[in-house]
Subunit: 223 residues, 2 copies
Amino acid sequence: MQELSAERAALGRASTAGRVAEILRSHITEGRLPPGTRLSEEDIGAALGVSRNTLREAFRLLAHERLLVHEFNRGVFVRRLTVDDVHDLYRFRRLVEGGVLRACPPDVALDDVRRAVEEGESAAADGRWVDVGTANMRFHQSLAALAGSPRVEEAMRHVLAELRLVFHVMAAPQTFHEPYLADNRRILDLLESGDGETAAAALERYLTAAEAQLTEAYAATSG
Amino acid sequence: MQELSAERAALGRASTAGRVAEILRSHITEGRLPPGTRLSEEDIGAALGVSRNTLREAFRLLAHERLLVHEFNRGVFVRRLTVDDVHDLYRFRRLVEGGVLRACPPDVALDDVRRAVEEGESAAADGRWVDVGTANMRFHQSLAALAGSPRVEEAMRHVLAELRLVFHVMAAPQTFHEPYLADNRRILDLLESGDGETAAAALERYLTAAEAQLTEAYAATSG
DNA sequence: AGTGCAGGATTGTTGAACAATCTGTCAATC
DNA sequence: GATTGACAGATTGTTCAACAATCCTGCACT
């Protein structure tokens, strides 16, 4: 009985607007719709075969997730992150991810975290750099999940999606995440040994490093 | 020049859907639309004089803020928070507010925090309990603002709006916030003395107390 | 160069329409 | 009496067409 209620979500009765939003979301986060692109209601509506009204519902969803910006009477655009945005995103991540690790009970289940670390390592060994990136995302998402809070998870998901907007400005996005694999492993080890405090400190240090690297690359392109 | 750009937002070119969402939001958070209420597209559209399509855009916005739940083919309802939701909201608050205080630099500007504390105290002295509640909300919002992060502020705003959904189940919502005024003052004092660590500990303790009080009242009403 | 003004294009919003789905009723059945 | 099935009414999901409001572009004019 109760087991079934868990599958209710899988019943997949997604609205058209929701599916449209999902399609656009993946196109945006994967860089196929680069920041600044204007999304014409007519063009995209025709391309996806949905009406303007339905499309507008999808736009609102993504605007609320900060992947699109909606300028009144001008249309929606793929968000163009400023350097301030990048700083803010990492400020948010240090606060949330660091706080989660610090408050992490010693007996917490680290299965998902370990899986993400191993997936990243094996992807790097095979040179599958895109997979390294997604594994790294999953690593941080699973760190946030240690809070055991759906709301923390969702906020983290949004922030990581935003960050993807800016990863594409890197000169070599393929290898951007690779140096952090060792840090991920170290943080996992520290968590397994129950030392959340040190893990949090290590994480915050490397987030700051990544932020610096990103803002540097950012200044080079959008000057 | 730059001063003007700050006023751009005040230029008030809000869309109809945005204004409708604002109206509904205030009705919900003030308890005039109690949790569980179904919001008929036709009725509300007629009452506000907007078309169904525009109204649906507003619904989507509020659903994304978790004030409404959207059930496919059944309509939208004012969210009914479960006890798990209450726990999650306070988990979120402890993480964010606590983390902000802990990471608070000693020289941070506390003007907004102080204003909120004083406003609460003077409202309590006059017996204006509703104002005590809003001042308390502003206190916590201004704590989150100490992070200097728009995203943290927004997340906090959403969480506090959600919490309002549940405040109305209290037997005496008027005086619910009153006992916490002294705690607010104490936290402000600790921050002014630069002891963010102790302030964070005090805050987390009293958030846990408030959570217990709320869940208790909750169990009494909704079984 | 800078300003002002058409004209076209796009968005904002509405209203109507139809399909899909839900809800409640009522009879038939065990 | 409780359960099932079918039907009708109501509501939502989605589309379409239309018009108003606004923006953008190009051009004449100074």
